[in-house]
């Protein structure tokens, strides 16, 4: 892949120290989060928002007439905004990793059939009422299981005796994704009610609207562990970018590294898909924007990209639920609307991907 970046960092050394930009983004994330929790059909000012959050965390008290506002802040918006931040961060980090693993700048977290696998899992559970013992979590568990099944299938189909090549992995993922989509279409076509159709819409468009305190902590834990491990594997990703032969000569077993990193990204993506559906574009574009800002070294990319992804997802979600009340816009539509011009603009300004 010829990813022709001329990072801003080359001109602005302050971006390259790896502290300034992440700190600024972390601050922006906290502020964005508070604002996003306060904004919506009922507007709650940031001071009150902070007070309610503090009350919830510290077990403090609020007056009786504030209870409904408190409920909105703590039970509805906080998990939703947290989920947006977590999934945004996860998609950005996994996207950057997958692009390095399959050596393809067009790769995103879902390229290996995970999104369609998750959809098949979710629809199957909805239609056949499987996993009923799990109650409201059945669909999420089904989606996660579908994602994992798809991953195993793609990996098994792509591997050869001499290991796994990036190109085979991508091609197999794309091919099997079509297969899963076909399975899903058949399921919906023959499904009696409209339940399946709305489930599919949910999974293909993506939303943070299903966030509850029941589901967010699990997804957040998986994503955060994933972020830490990926960040620690940054050196391996750097070496993999030099090619498998060079990697071997530098003491890195490309096949083995690719296998466990692939598995890890699949688990993280599956966990995210299970709670929020598939949210396009974040995992594709945020890694590129990050590299344009801070350069290609994965230590910096995997520090900055999650923060950038989190901030972006929080704002996009806010836009999705406030732009045309009372309806909610599908997230995928907005990530594309925000992301495409941003990306094309940056690419043209920085002459990325070739060209002078």
């Amino acid at each position: 892949m010829t990813t022709f970046y001329r990072p801003l960092a080359a001109r602005l050394p302050a971006l390259r120290d790896g502290v300034l930009l992440p700190s600024a983004l972390a601050a922006a994330l906290v502020v964005s989060g508070l604002l996003a929790i306060g904004l919506g059909s009922a507007v709650i000012d940031p001071a009150d928002t902070a007070r309610y959050l503090w009350a919830a965390v510290s077990g403090g008290t609020i007056s009786a007439d504030e209870v409904s506002r408190y409920q909105i802040v703590w039970q509805i918006r906080t998990p939703r905004v947290l989920l947006a931040a977590v999934v945004g961060a996860g998609l950005a980090a996994v996207g950057a990793t997958v692009q390095a693993l399959v050596r393809n700048p067009l790769a995103d977290p879902y390229i290996l059939g995970i999104s369609s696998g998750a959809s098949v899992g979710a629809v199957t559970v909805t239609l056949f009422g499987a996993l009923a013992v799990l109650g409201i979590h059945a669909v999420s568990v089904g989606a996660f299981a579908g994602a994992m099944g798809a991953t195993v299938l793609v990996y098994a189909a792509a591997r050869t005796r001499s290991g796994i090549t990036p190109l085979r992995l991508v091609l197999t993922g794309v091919a099997l994704a079509f297969g899963f989509q076909a399975v899903m279409s058949v399921l919906i076509y023959f499904a009696p009610g409209s339940d399946a159709t709305s489930t599919v819409l949910f999974w293909t468009m993506g939303t943070f609207g299903a966030a509850t305190w029941g589901s967010v902590p699990v997804a957040a834990a998986v994503v955060l562990v994933g972020l830490v491990v990926l960040r620690r594997a940054a050196g391996t990703l750097d070496v993999l970018a030099l090619g498998d032969e060079a990697a071997a000569s530098m003491g890195v077993d490309a096949t083995r590294s690719r296998r466990w990193l692939f598995l890890l990204t699949a688990v993280v993506t599956g966990a995210m898909a299970a709670v929020s559906g598939t949210i396009g574009f974040v995992g594709l574009v945020v890694p590129h924007v990050t590299r344009l800002l801070v350069g290609a070294t994965h230590t910096r990319v995997l520090t900055t990209a999650p923060l950038l992804g989190a901030v972006l997802a929080v704002w996009v979600d806010l836009l999705a639920r406030t732009a045309v009340p009372p309806r909610e816009l599908p997230l995928g539509v907005l990530t594309a609307l925000v992301g495409v011009p941003l990306f094309v603009g940056l690419m043209r300004r920085r002459h990325a991907f070739g060209g002078a």
Partner: protein
């Protein structure tokens, strides 16, 4: 560091590419691997830097079988200039060179002051220090090749394995690179296509043809007109370099062919 290829055989895609190759490189020696395209030179080399496992036979470093060492242990003693040709993403030259420290560290590379100096020295040696802040994807082929060599040098190997290091290099940098390689005093196994450069740069040459070792010895012993005609199918004249006495291969193009292609 002493390298020994012991009855090395490699099958690729059901075809035997290297057949029972025996080759010794003694400490501090520069050995050139020459031969026509597809004769198995690069394949043999890949077994040394462990991108490939031999189907039979073993590679030994100072007597130790490679398979008994971890990849990382091998990488601390051996570095390679491969034909991967650079990076997917636009590291700066300094970042790419620093990656050579990977086998000496755990996790992402963090350079100490001494290592930073080592990197700068390597970049100066390969004449790329002035490119340190440039993105590697914007470099010319020759510049990139020199950057990759600097990366191989900061790995602080005892054995250096190079697959056509003079590829893309202009005359000045070909000569500089090979003189520099000799000056490092490292044990070196290098694949070269230019027989004259190989004769000038190497203590011994190993000539391969169709996966087999045809001849090994000093350049003067290995490079004879009969052998070159047999292996390459080209009629050549041999002469000696007026200053060094190294054998030099001269050839004439067949000019009887019409120039226009119909």
């Amino acid at each position: 560091m002493e390298l020994r290829l012991d009855q090395l055989s490699v099958d690729l895609g059901g075809r035997r590419v290297v057949e029972q190759l025996d080759l010794d490189v003694t400490a501090g020696e520069v050995v050139g691997l020459v031969g026509p395209n597809g004769s198995g030179k690069s394949t043999a080399l890949r077994c040394v830097y462990r991108a490939l496992r031999p189907s039979a036979g073993v590679v030994r470093l100072d007597g130790e079988v490679l398979d008994s060492l971890s990849l990382r242990e091998t990488a601390r003693r051996t570095s390679a200039l491969t034909q991967d040709g650079g990076a997917d993403v636009d590291f700066t030259v300094a970042e790419l060179v620093a990656l050579g420290r990977t086998p000496h560290q755990r996790g992402p590379v963090r350079l100490s002051a001494a290592e930073r100096e080592l990197c700068e020295r390597a970049m100066a040696q390969t004449d790329v220090l002035h490119l340190a802040g440039r993105g590697v994807l914007s470099l010319s082929g020759g510049e990139r090749q020199r950057v990759l060599l600097a990366r191989a040098l900061v790995q602080e190997p005892q054995l250096l394995v190079l697959d056509e290091p003079t590829n893309h290099l202009d005359l000045r940098h070909q000569v500089r690179l090979l003189s520099h390689l000799r000056a490092t005093g490292l044990t070196i196994l290098v694949v070269l296509h230019d027989l004259n450069l190989a004769a000038a740069a190497c203590d011994r040459l190993a000539l391969m043809s169709a996966g087999r070792l045809v001849a090994v010895g000093t350049p003067a012993d290995v490079l004879t007109a009969e052998r070159i005609a047999e292996v390459y199918g080209v009629e050549v004249q041999l002469t000696r370099h007026p200053l060094t006495g190294d054998p030099q291969v001269l050839f004439a193009l067949d000019r009887s062919q019409p120039k226009e292609i119909r």
